[in-house]
């Protein structure tokens, strides 16, 4: 049985006017849902081919640095978010050896909760971000790649590199409508113990439906510049950015 208000679907992505078989979903709507859920599940559980990813980066002239967390499996990653925020001793030593020169930005990429997202959008987003930083003479450390990292891992990495700003690109938790979104989190003065209130976030990066690479990079460059100028990030910076954007619109 179809619904007479199907025309309302154009106003929302919500699953409205699905019709019914008795009290239940029609078969098509039921299978649509199952497919979307299957894609989201795959995105969570697919392993990330990090070595292939590093190879692609090198081909494009970007220097990768592969680091590790103590997380031993995907299941442990899901159960123990605290471990995804730490580096192994070996990775810590490698970073300590690197932290010689002055670094503005420690850029990090992790698959987070969606390997599909980093596989699909990781390289072009990194390219857009790295080009932007280079054009503005912002000094970057080698780009860290980490399997099974959490957002706060950027505090550990940025802290060891003595970077002024840590930026982590992370696969976002898959929803039914989008299993391949990347998010970016920026923290000024990264140190273990920083709270989420001290971070700025750019989310839903997944062109063409979501935010594009260039637009995301432009937003990140703006935030990075302002964070370094003002010596802060998080709620205070967000409020000012919102005001600025509103003022520009007016």
């Amino acid at each position: 049985m179809t619904d007479s208000w199907v025309a309302l679907r154009r106003f929302t992505q919500a699953r409205i006017a699905l019709g019914r078989a008795g009290h239940a979903l029609p078969t098509k709507a039921q299978l649509d849902f199952q497919l979307a859920h299957a894609q989201a599940r795959d995105a969570v559980h697919l392993p990330w081919a990090i070595d292939d990813f590093a190879g692609e980066m090198r081909d494009l002239g970007l220097e990768p640095l592969i680091l590790n967390t103590p997380v031993a499996s995907r299941e442990q990653y899901l159960r123990r978010p605290d471990l995804g925020r730490l580096l192994t001793e070996e990775s810590r030593c490698r970073l300590t050896d690197l932290a010689a020169g002055e670094t503005d930005v420690a850029l990090i990429l992790t698959n987070g909760l969606s390997s599909t997202a980093v596989e699909r959008h990781g390289i072009p987003l990194l390219q857009a971000v790295a080009e932007g930083y280079r054009a503005r003479n912002i000094r970057m450390a080698p780009i860290s790649l980490v399997v099974n990292g959490r957002v706060a891992l950027s505090d550990a990495i940025g802290g060891l590199l003595a970077a002024r700003v840590a930026v982590i690109i992370v696969g976002e938790r898959p929803g039914l409508s989008a299993a391949d979104s990347l998010g970016i989190y920026l923290t000024y003065g990264p140190q273990p113990g920083n709270t989420d209130a001290e971070r700025n976030c750019i989310s839903n990066i997944r062109p063409p439906e979501g935010l594009g690479y260039e637009a995301a990079a432009a937003k990140l460059l703006y935030l990075t510049g302002e964070a370094m100028k003002r010596g802060l990030s998080g709620v205070a910076l967000k409020d000012e950015m919102d005001e600025l954007l509103t003022a520009n619109q007016a």
Binding site: I16, L18, H23, A36, P174, L176
Partner: protein, 465 residues
């Protein structure tokens, strides 16, 4: 070691009430994450034996958090009713389980001890109950509340219509509201989680919902689930606030991390009561809770997730809410790992809430990184409906496109109505029959549906986006 037991030559010790409760708790990821779970199944079973032998009075003598450090503990002790406690005051936790299940104890007796029970007693007894016990006892508890209709009558199941939209687009929200109403949902509340908590945005949404309810004379209430401070500010400006929403937790520190305290909740409730918008009752608060919230705020004081959750119900019941729901699977697998843990937690929360006198609903839900799927939700949904759950969520196609998680759908409520004969709130059911959405026998009409709503739909469809 305060509590000791030897079992086949192995000695088990638990150094206090908190530890005993945590180790007696059925396994869940949150307690493992906090490092307070039993280290073996045998240790858990032994802890349950010791807990069963504990006199209920122990919980009054030994608060889990010193009252001078925590206002929720003070509230629990101050609101304890010695007279109501009298019939069960000499019982142990294990004896309380049997008392609750006993044939010689009436359903009315169970309601009578409500304010004699503390959340810790409810949590403790739940830990030694099987799922069927949680269902059977919750079903004995009757909690009836009212605002613009009557929620919680026997044989009824209500739904919150949840028309969320990723950018709060009014047409998108309106489309989901119409869809939900035409599927017979929305008697508990039409409640939006706003994408942006700004007062201006929340105010716009409040007027949108109020207009729909007034225009179509729907016997229900609206809510925009903003922070209580935002809602307070909007009430001062005269915005049409039916229910005041707030997420709450079971410790003062966790509530502080939400930016609230008991005085603030009292202030908001007074303001909502003063606006006098209810016609069938003065239950003006809507609370959400969930196991793991205190831990995620690092404010659990070493108390297990389920006991912290029950303590949140002490906060809730101090403000006579219209609705409370546990958003059980939203928090993620580091707290409730899989379908089995989510189902158990949903039944525990519903049981403890009802036992403590709350109009308890459940957001039967999961995220995509939890080991759960629609079949697990079907199981929990059916079990809760059998247990007499007050209400469930109604989300278009079970897919919340703003919060990116899966909840129950409009269709799910129709399923429960068909298999268990559960009806919506009476005033809302009358309206559904009157406008032609329902057929007079608790099911959707097959013929022409609500000309008035279809008219509103056509009007909306004419608008060029």
């Amino acid at each position: 070691m305060k509590f000791r037991k030897n079992f086949k030559g192995r000695g088990y010790g638990f150094d206090g009430l908190k530890s005993l409760l945590a180790k007696a708790s059925p396994l869940r990821a949150a307690d493992e994450l906090a490092g307070i779970a039993a280290s073996s199944e045998e240790e858990r079973a032994v802890a349950q034996w010791l807990l069963a032998d504990l006199p209920l009075a122990t919980f009054l003598a030994e608060p889990l958090i010193p009252p001078e450090e925590d206002e929720v503990s003070r509230l629990i002790l101050d609101s304890h009713d010695r007279t109501a406690f009298a019939p069960i005051s000499s019982l142990t936790v294990g004896e309380l389980r049997e008392w609750l299940l006993s044939d010689s104890v009436t359903d009315a007796d169970v309601s009578t001890v409500c304010w004699g029970l503390t959340p810790e007693m409810a949590a403790a007894v739940s830990k030694i109950m099987r799922n069927q016990d949680l269902i059977a006892v919750a079903r004995r508890c009757s909690v009836i509340t009212g605002f613009r209709n009557t929620i919680g009558l026997p044989g009824r199941l209500s739904t919150r219509l949840q028309p969320n939209h990723p950018t709060d687009d009014p047409r998108g929200i309106f489309a989901s509201v119409l869809d939900g109403l035409l599927y017979g949902n929305g008697d508990a509340v039409i409640g939006i989680n706003p994408a942006t908590d700004s007062p201006k945005n929340v105010e716009r949404l409040l007027y949108l919902l109020d207009d729909i309810i007034q225009r179509h004379e729907i016997p229900t209430q609206s809510c925009v689930l903003a922070h209580v401070t935002t809602t307070l500010e909007l009430m001062r400006r005269g915005a049409p606030v039916d229910l005041v929403f707030q997420s709450i937790a079971g410790t003062e520190a966790a509530n502080k991390s939400f930016g609230i305290n008991l005085a603030l909740l009292a202030e908001a409730r007074d303001a909502a009561l003063a606006s006098g918008r209810g016609t069938h009752g003065d239950n003006v608060m809507y609370f959400e809770t969930g196991q793991g919230s205190a831990l995620s705020a690092n404010a659990h004081h070493g108390i297990d997730a389920q006991t912290c959750e029950a303590r949140a119900y002490a906060v809730a019941r101090a403000f006579s809410p219209l609705l409370v729901n546990t958003v059980v699977g939203f928090i993620g697998p580091e707290y409730l790992y899989d379908g089995k843990q989510i189902i158990r937690a949903g039944l525990e929360d519903h049981f403890c809430g009802k036992l403590l006198g709350l109009p308890m609903g459940c957001d039967v839900c999961y995220t995509n990184h939890a080991e759960a799927d629609q079949n697990d939700m079907d199981n929990l949904l059916t079990l809760l409906a059998v247990a007499g759950c007050t209400y469930i969520m109604g989300v278009p196609g079970a897919d919340d496109v703003m919060l990116a998680y899966q909840s129950s759908s409009f269709h799910d409520a129709l399923y429960l109505r068909r298999i268990l004969g559960l009806r919506p709130a009476p005033e809302f059911e009358d309206w559904l029959n009157r406008v032609g959405i329902f057929d007079g026998s608790n099911a959707l009409s097959r013929g022409a549906q609500s000309p008035q709503l279809i008219g509103a739909m056509k009007e909306l469809a004419k608008v060029t986006p």
